[in-house]
């Protein structure tokens, strides 16, 4: 039986892949970027989810093995930003990558998922639970994703036994967060350490999350049994 993880070259995606490999699963790891050596039994699919051929390749990889879970862990920040700097083309690209490809991905994989009464877990963001200044389009994409997932769960669970669940991670350690912290500190004219302390003052747990914690949440949610439809894992930063 196989699982598909999109965005597998990212920090969260790679942690999720490693966790599934440790569980002995056959993992199909997709990313538009190069996927390095992640582990035994991992099939790398390097391609763009906006490309029909990439979706067909993913479908082909699970045709005989069966499919028990799809984890949509890809996403981008590029295209978000302050209101006066938003541009149509990059805004549309962000919405397509963070939201529109996921319904298309599910369409392509619904039949094999339904055969196994599988689970879809979408990795949204704490930006799906609140508005974020200077991050409005990213927030829109993640709010839309959460709403779509909740609606699909209600429909598919009755029709085919497929469940659709959402994880909303907070600020999680990754090269992307690292760059963002440097940039925000520079913009604010303070040191990186001072900016981190400012972040920690907003997070009850007083630390950033680890990709492995998101992977563990995925492991909890892929069970074919009742689980939270939406799980916020953010150190308590957003009330959810």
């Amino acid at each position: 039986m196989s699982v598909i993880v999109t965005g597998a070259a990212g920090a969260m995606g790679a942690a999720i892949v490693r966790d599934f490999v440790e569980q002995g699963k056959r993992v199909i790891a997709q990313d538009v970027r190069e996927i390095g050596a992640i582990g035994e039994g991992v099939v790398a699919v390097e391609g763009d989810l906006r490309d029909r051929l990439c979706l067909e390749r993913l479908r082909g990889e699970v045709e005989t093995s069966g499919l028990e879970a799809v984890i949509a862990a890809h996403g981008t920040f590029a295209g978000s930003g302050p209101l006066e700097k938003l541009e149509r083309e990059s805004t549309q690209r962000l919405m397509e990558i963070n939201f529109s490809v996921i319904p298309r991905l599910l369409d392509a994989l619904l039949e094999p998922l339904g055969r196994r009464r599988g689970v879809v877990v979408v990795i949204a963001s704490q930006a799906a639970l609140r508005g974020e200044p200077s991050n409005s389009v990213y927030s829109a994409s993640k709010w839309a994703l959460r709403a779509w997932a909740e609606a699909m769960d209600a429909r598919l669970r009755e029709q085919s036994g497929v469940r659709v669940r959402t994880i909303c991670p907070g600020r999680t350690l990754s090269p992307l967060l690292n760059d963002a912290l440097d940039n925000f500190a520079r913009v604010e004219g303070i040191t990186r350490e001072e900016y981190e302390q400012r972040c920690f003052s907003l997070i009850p747990a007083r630390r950033f999350g680890k990709p492995e914690e998101i992977a563990a949440a995925v492991r909890f949610l892929v069970a074919p049994a009742p689980r939270p439809n939406v799980l916020a894992i953010d150190g308590g930063e957003v009330p959810w």
Binding site: A205, A225, G236
Partner: protein, 137 residues
């Protein structure tokens, strides 16, 4: 055995609140009383050792007439607000979360508590884990 009688796995303290079906004043019994009950039972949280985890489990009736839905929503929202606020107070060393389940969901509750008790879940803080599935509520 039902969800109300579930035992806590090692590493987590359990505070169970059950909403009784047959009550006359649901505003008081479902919304007002549980807030104080939880406050009273977690007041020691700041004295718990670092790394401790507390789960408040709200056990709701398996089947309720639709007319009870607004009060049930209020009951859950009240405890969500309470737990998230308490998490802001004690969050640095103790995790506090709310689990909502129906009386018959004993197995799912046990699995959820095992997850919350694990080191992997130490960044789940002030959150609500609602185990009722849409369409089954």
């Amino acid at each position: 055995m039902n969800a109300q009688q579930a035992r806590a796995p090692a590493g987590i303290e359990l505070v169970t609140v059950q909403l009784e079906e047959e009550v006359a004043d649901r505003g008081r019994a479902w919304v007002e009383a549980p807030v104080w009950e939880v406050v009273e039972r977690v007041q020691h949280a700041q004295r718990l050792e670092a790394g401790s985890s507390v789960a408040v489990v709200l056990v709701v009736p398996d089947a309720e007439p639709g007319s009870s839905a607004p009060m049930l929503s209020a009951a859950i929202a009240g405890l969500r607000g309470l737990l998230h606020s308490l998490a802001l107070e004690v969050g640095e060393h103790v995790t506090l979360n709310l689990v909502v389940c129906k009386r018959h969901q004993r197995a799912e509750l046990r699995e959820t508590l095992e997850y919350l008790a694990s080191d992997d879940a130490s960044w789940v803080q002030g959150a609500t884990l609602d185990l009722r599935e849409a369409g089954c509520q």
